[in-house]
Every structure is written in C-alpha cells, then in structure tokens.
Symmetry: C2
Subunit: 415 residues, 2 copies
Amino acid sequence: MHSTITKIDAEQADFTDPLRSYRDRFDLPDGVLYLDGNSLGALPKTVRQRVAKTISEEWGEQLIRSWNTADWVHLPQRVGRKIANLIGAGDGSVVTADSTSINLFKVLSAALDLNPGRSKIISERDNFPTDLYIAQGVAKQIGKGHRLVLSDAPSDIPDMLDEDAAVLMLTHVNYRNGYRHDMAALTKMAHDKGILVIWDLCHTAGAMPVDLTGAGADFAIGCGYKYLNGGPGAPAFLYVNPRHMGGFRQPLSGWFGHRAPFDFDPSYAPSSNIEQYLCGTPPVLAMVAMDEAMSLWDDVDMTAVRAKSVTLCDLFIQEVDSFADEFGLKLVTPRDADRRGSQVSYSCDNGYAIMQALIARGVVGDFRAPDIIRFGMTPLYLKFAEVKQAAAILRDILETRAWDAPEFQVRGAVT
Amino acid sequence: MHSTITKIDAEQADFTDPLRSYRDRFDLPDGVLYLDGNSLGALPKTVRQRVAKTISEEWGEQLIRSWNTADWVHLPQRVGRKIANLIGAGDGSVVTADSTSINLFKVLSAALDLNPGRSKIISERDNFPTDLYIAQGVAKQIGKGHRLVLSDAPSDIPDMLDEDAAVLMLTHVNYRNGYRHDMAALTKMAHDKGILVIWDLCHTAGAMPVDLTGAGADFAIGCGYKYLNGGPGAPAFLYVNPRHMGGFRQPLSGWFGHRAPFDFDPSYAPSSNIEQYLCGTPPVLAMVAMDEAMSLWDDVDMTAVRAKSVTLCDLFIQEVDSFADEFGLKLVTPRDADRRGSQVSYSCDNGYAIMQALIARGVVGDFRAPDIIRFGMTPLYLKFAEVKQAAAILRDILETRAWDAPEFQVRGAVT
C-alpha cells in the first residue's frame, strides 16, 4: 500500500482548514517541516517586537518605575489568566512562575501537607523523569518515609490507588509515546480513595481542550515552551484548586508569596490566594515573551485545535503504515485518538541516526532514548501537506539507508 | 556649610574617572539621575540586539536545534563563570539559575543536611525578608525543629554563634542601611564553632571586589538584576564551595541537576558537580540577556569600581550633611567606608512622599518601609556631577516642601 491521501487531498485539507490563518502568525524558516513544537514551540511573530519594546522602553527608559507603570509586578497573574482559559481553570487559580520542576515541588509539597498519614506517591515509571526526581527530592526533604511507587503500565494504576496513597501524580500525555490518560476517570478513582491528584499538562496545554475544574483536579503544572510557544525555557504555570487555598502550604516561601511583599515584614505570612505559589522576583523578559505568545490564543477555538491535531496524527500514521513494517518501525502511540495526545512516536533500531538524517533533510522531530523517534503535531502552524511530505522523506531515508552515514551517528549534548 | 565640592570639582572628577568610558555602554534616559541601580541596574546597550538575535535566529530559525548549536544547554555554567570572576570563586563553583529565593532554598537545605544535629539558623531581623521567609519554609518542610534566630544588631552576632547553630545566613550588605559585614571575620568565627556560612551577595556582586574563596565561605547566592545589570527579574546565581560538592544535598532535584539529564533515567542520580544545583530547563531569553550584560565586565577593574563607589557615597553624604539636620534626615549608612556597601540611606519623616517628589524631578532612588530613602551608587554609569546635582535637588525639595503635594502621597503596588 502506498500513501493513503494524495498530495491534492492534503492541499485541499490545508485550504479548508479553519485554523489556517494562524500559520502566518508564526515565523518559520523556509525548507523546514517542523514536527518538534512539542519540544519547543515556534516563534510567534509579535514576540520579538514586544520584547524589544520591554527592553528599550520599560527597562531602558522607565527603569525601576516599570514595576508599577508597566505593571511588571502582576505579570505572573496576567499570564496565568490567559493560560487558565485554555485548561478549564477559574479566575485566580493559575499563575505563571519558575519552571515546571519547581512548580511541581511546590504543589507536591502542598498536596502531601494536605494529606498526612499516608506514605505513597503514585506515578509511572515512564513519566517524564524530572517529575520523578522532584518527588524524590520532596520525599527526602520531608523525611517522613514518603516513597514513590511507579506503575509499569497505565492499566496498573487503578489497583495501586489504596488507603496508603497520598498523591497520584501523572503527566496527562506521555512525553515518549503520546499515551493520554483519562483525566476525569482517574481523578475520580483517586478521590474515592482519599488521594489527591496532580496533573502535569506539559504535553497538553495548547494541544487540546482540558477541563481541570470539571475533572475536579487538585493541582496541575505545565510548561510554557511547547504548544504554548512561550520561547525556550519559558516560565511554567501551576494551578491550585480553590478548595486548597490558604494555610502555609508550599515551602518555597519567597517574598512574592507573602500576603504583603512590600511591607518587608521579617515574618512570613502567606497569601491566602494563588499568589502563595509565587516565590522570587518574576523574570520579566521571559514573562513578557510568554505574555505575548499567549495573546495569540485569545480567539483560538480549542475544539478546532483538537480536531486538526487528530487528523494530522491520523494522516501521519496512515502514511507511515505503508512502510513501517518493512523497516521495523513500531508505532508506540495509540491508534485510538481518544487515548493519545498530539504526537506520533515510533520505536526503531538506529532511531538517533534516522532522526539526524531527517533533520538534515529539513524534517525536524526528535529522538528520545533509548529508541523512540517522535513527531509533534502543532495544529496552529502545521499543514497537512507538510505532514504528508515528512512521511515521504522518512520513507526515502529508510529506503536509501541515508541514516547510515557517519555524520548522523555523532551525538550532541542534548539528544 | 554649603556644598563641599564645587561643580567644577565634580566635573573634574568625572573627567579623570578611570571608569568613565563605561557610561557610554549603557542606555540611560535623558533628564534622569539614576540612583536606583541597586534595585534594577541600567540597560547595557548591546542587550537588545543580542536578545533580538536569539529570538530571531536561534529560536525562530534554528528552533530546537539551538540547544546544541547555540549551546543553550550550558548557559547556566557559562554565565556562572563570568560571575565567578567577580566574586572570588573558582571554576565550576558558580551557576546562574532560578531566583535568589529559590537558590537560597537549595543552599540552605544543603547546609542543614551537611550540619545535622544542630537546630539554629542564625540571621538578622533586618535581613532582606525573602531570605528569612525561605528559611522559615525550609525549616517547616524539614520538620526537625530548626528555628530561625535573629539578631537585632550586627554586634550581637558573634555571641549568637554557639554549638547549637547549624548555619549563619547573612546578607553581606544590608538592603536598607547599606551596612556591610566583615565576611572573612564572621566566616572564621562561625567556622570556629562548626557553623556553615551562607552569604547573600545581592547588594555586593558588581559593586565591589569579593573573595569567597579567601573567606572560606561555604555557600553564596545573589541576584542578577542589581549591580550586574542583567535586566528585571534576571536569573540569580549561587556558589558552592568545592569542598561541599557531591551527595544528594539539595532537594530541588530537577532534571538539569541529574548526572545525565538526557538519559531519561527514572531514578535521580545527582551530578557530583555544581550542576546538581540546577533544577528545571533554563530560561534562555533571560539567560542570554544576563550573559550579554556580564560580557561588559570582562575588563572591569573591581578595585577601581570600589574606589569610585566609596567616593560617590562620600560625596553624596558630604553634600547632604550640609542640610540633613535642618530637615530631619538621619544618615543610617555607616560613614566608615569599610563598613558599608555602595548605597547611602537616610531615615526621615515623609520619606515616601519625598522620594516621589525626587522621582518627579528626575532623581530616581527608592523608598523602603517604614522610613528609609535609599540612593544607590553604581560606579559604571554614575557621574560625580550627577550625585552632586541629586543632592541639590533633594535640598530644594525639602526647602520648598515640594513633597507635600497630594500626588506624592499615592502609593503604587510596588513601593
């Protein structure tokens, strides 16, 4: 079987794509088919000018006064509100701050504090490692015998939810294989056993609609630099269900989390609102880039985003199906759209070299050790014709064994 | 007594200033006498272009590949090395990361882990509040009865250093009054009692030479946005004495602190080097701005910086001496240059309104509750003539009671 959709069909799909106008709002280099927006989102065109203005006018001319006049001081809340709109979170329940790892440290500490007398933190062995590392760091510092218990498959999780589990901590969409958990069902199962739930939305926010409020999630975290296009190492976000506000819950108790930071009181009095989850002075340049990137989402229909994401993934899977077996590519992403995020991943031998050969031909995806090649589908700026072409280039590289050249075997610092 | 140095003298001092060429490397607005570089440093001219290039070329065109090709992944170490040169720290002992508050959380946690069986964290009631808040957060999370014990005056500290003290945690130069501790003497006194020492260099780095290695300091932290001019909310730095490397010491164990972050191992194995003190993905745009700002320091003579700082402070103090008593301004900064940093502060009634009136006249300093007006002296871009003029404007505002206008009583979110 050859390709399942003709070139004309893909171009027709692009022509009728309700999201097609968004492509022009990004700077994308010529000759690149960018299937790595799930690692670093593309550059929204207006970011450069906005950051330049912040540097020249707000920093350079207004200097310290901009904390008030440009309202730098409330950037974490302002950007948080824009993200809240995409993830089904209410006003005042999301802030943008720090990194995903640090935000997980905050909310996991808070969750364990809220659920004393239980010792297990349940997660998955295949969760993104930093989440597991942070859990180990929190448990070690608390020193009360909390332990991380890891499932080997999603289907094992329900049986692990017992009376000794304090927190269920999952990444909604798996970074390697793109598997997507059923957020509402797992949250309910956990709550039925008195377990609090933290959702990592790194591979979710901006890729599909989410309803944290509807699911009753306790906490959520996520990054700004993937589907949200906030720039490399963009500030992360965190969500706290309003029912968990108050108390002195999270230990990264910097001055921006104080009830009255500019009173300079020597004793910590936590804000009883989402601001308690702020810590130090916000990184203004990074926040402004993130704020500008988020302004692009004001009028985006998330249902259309998800529909296009599903079709992009289906198209890529169908195209690769025609040669996958011949070259030993094994689809590790669920075929069932209801069980996956917005990426398509294959396990294969020589995956690193294959990905390098793809990148050399302009198809930018990425490799995840030990054997996964990953293709991210970003509905705001990816075309159906590009996805079809990327699959064709993959086929050509496999057929010609182009990946078997010495220059494609050499690894960089970041693989 | 009127002014102690004539206008001609100040201009002569500017003409012979060995640092005068640096002024041209900053963008400073016309009509502003900027005496708040100890809160937010001025904009180095090359930062805008460097950040624009990073956005357009590295993010926009090279996209994800820049983690390798532009070596984004090692920005924390590269910027750290530049800061290390200014603070007497050896290679591989400083990284740039996160915020000052978060970095304090890391090193205080490590210090308490290294010094078990002791319960006190010694600091000052007048330390910058976020340092005290973070200590409260660390102590609460560890839950082993650590308590923060605060001195009311620097002279009280030596007697507080007893066998139950685990850590002495001080800001080298006080943010309010500019008092400067004797780093070497206090570190030695603490070490003699088996106490580890953390120095906060927020008001030190870039303002004067520091010798962390010579003093034998255990840990240090500091921010990038004051005398280092890294931009609003710039990434902070931290120093770890090489004798304290290794172990699983700091609990913010994100993937960038792992021995091999890109192996994606589910178990945390800490780097045995300074990288252990990294946590999540570094904020590239903010790091690049900081890196560019730090490049300005390559050939700066820190002895000349300190000499000019002392003279700038002396000049301002002398000028204000001529009218301070008449208007109730009390100098709270030590007259002895060996006991102060690079700022001059006064306590006074109506300090908030006086500072607002100064700002309206172009003299930008700041107010710190309840009654301190603060003037920062930044040797790289401040002129003697400006300091003299600022004092004259302060005098005029006091003589005319210009501060007693309604518009100067209204407080912003940040005071």
